[in-house]
């Protein structure tokens, strides 16, 4: 049977990304690789048998049996406060995956790429950028990434490094709530003008991937289609009602 079953993974490392976000490296026996943009379902079981499942995007590129997730702690969440707060090296987790084939990019799909992220919506897009870098791909790519403050920017140093490689990637940050002194970048929510300034022209036929809180995703996807982009080339992944950058 090819159906996916739940399996046990062991936590190899927990790393703080921002005050509310951690990256968790898991060792998953028998892991057979994944595509950039896929996710896993994580299942927690309480002592009384109650189970809660959530989907988390894979952040890493394929690396043997190691899989990295990046998780934002939602204060009223059922699963994330445990993953991004209590989980320690050596703990075990039940997971199922990789799953999802729709919100996926691999270098052979080409571009140019327009990646738009709100908050932890950057995670599957980071998997795509890491995959692009690992493959030595020259596909032109632009990331427009909205965060509340500079401290909330996930993968900030790595994004700086990737953008500095001068291989066709540009990264544009948007800070919606507070900006450091001297900030010259965008300081408002993503809008149509910004997408026109940062994105590709519709005639360049970009592949769009938009990920984040549902409201941001719907606003951005709506603007892109209104600007003339082909709806079939704009893929979305809504995270639901999580924090709104």
């Amino acid at each position: 049977m090819g159906r996916l079953s739940w399996r046990l993974a062991e936590v190899a490392e927990v790393r703080n990304e921002t005050p509310r976000v951690v990256s968790i490296t898991l060792e998953v026996p028998g892991w057979d690789g994944h595509l950039a943009g896929q996710h896993v379902d994580v299942r927690l079981t309480a002592e009384d048998g109650y189970q809660a499942e959530r989907a988390y995007s894979i952040a890493s590129t394929p690396d043997g049996e190691r899989v990295e997730l990046t998780v934002e702690r939602l204060e009223d969440g059922e699963v994330s406060p445990y993953l991004a707060g209590e989980l320690r090296k050596g703990d075990q987790l039940e997971l199922r995956g990789p799953v999802g084939g729709y919100f996926v990019w691999e270098p052979d799909r080409g571009g140019p790429l327009l990646l738009v992220a709100g908050g932890s919506g950057v995670v599957p897009l980071m998997a795509m950028l890491r995959r692009r870098a690992a493959a030595g791909s020259q596909v032109p790519a632009r990331l427009l990434y909205s965060s509340r403050t500079l401290e909330d920017v996930i993968y900030r140093e790595e994004l700086d490094r990737l953008a500095g490689a001068a291989d066709g990637l540009t990264v544009t940050h948007v800070l919606t709530r507070a900006q450091p002194p001297g900030w010259t970048g965008y300081a408002r929510r993503i809008d149509a003008v910004m997408l026109e300034e940062v994105g590709w022209r519709p005639g360049e036929r970009p592949l769009g991937y938009v990920c984040g809180p549902t409201r941001l995703v719907e606003v951005v996807a709506g603007h892109l289609v209104a600007l003339g982009h082909d709806p079939a080339r704009v893929r979305t992944e809504r995270f639901g009602p999580t924090g709104v950058p």
Partner: protein, 94 residues
């Protein structure tokens, strides 16, 4: 927050659908029985809850697929799909 904030994509059902189907269903195509739009299931609009989910046409909002589980059974209502295409290339490996 209103109900729109709770909306997810068909992609969010990928794991649950692998418990029922042997295919990576989010890349499979279906036709809406309401408006005729053809979409990959990953593009559906999904409202999920603990027991299951309702997935709607991104074009007209028609319910395409309802899935629920409980007491060792799965319940599927596919009447909103005029047709569903399963591509052998998307069969789960293993």
């Amino acid at each position: 927050m209103d109900e729109h904030d709770l909306r997810l994509d068909g992609n969010a059902l990928a794991g649950m659908l692998t418990e029922v189907f042997d295919f990576e269903m989010t890349v499979e195509r279906g036709g809406c029985a309401g408006c005729g739009a053809v979409n990959q299931l990953g593009a559906m609009l999904v409202y999920a809850h603990g027991m299951g989910a309702v997935a709607c046409c991104p074009g007209c909002g028609q319910h395409l697929l309802r899935i629920a589980r409980g007491e060792g059974r799965w319940w599927l209502d596919l009447r909103g799909l005029a047709w569903l295409q399963l591509d052998e290339r998307a069969r789960m490996a293993g």
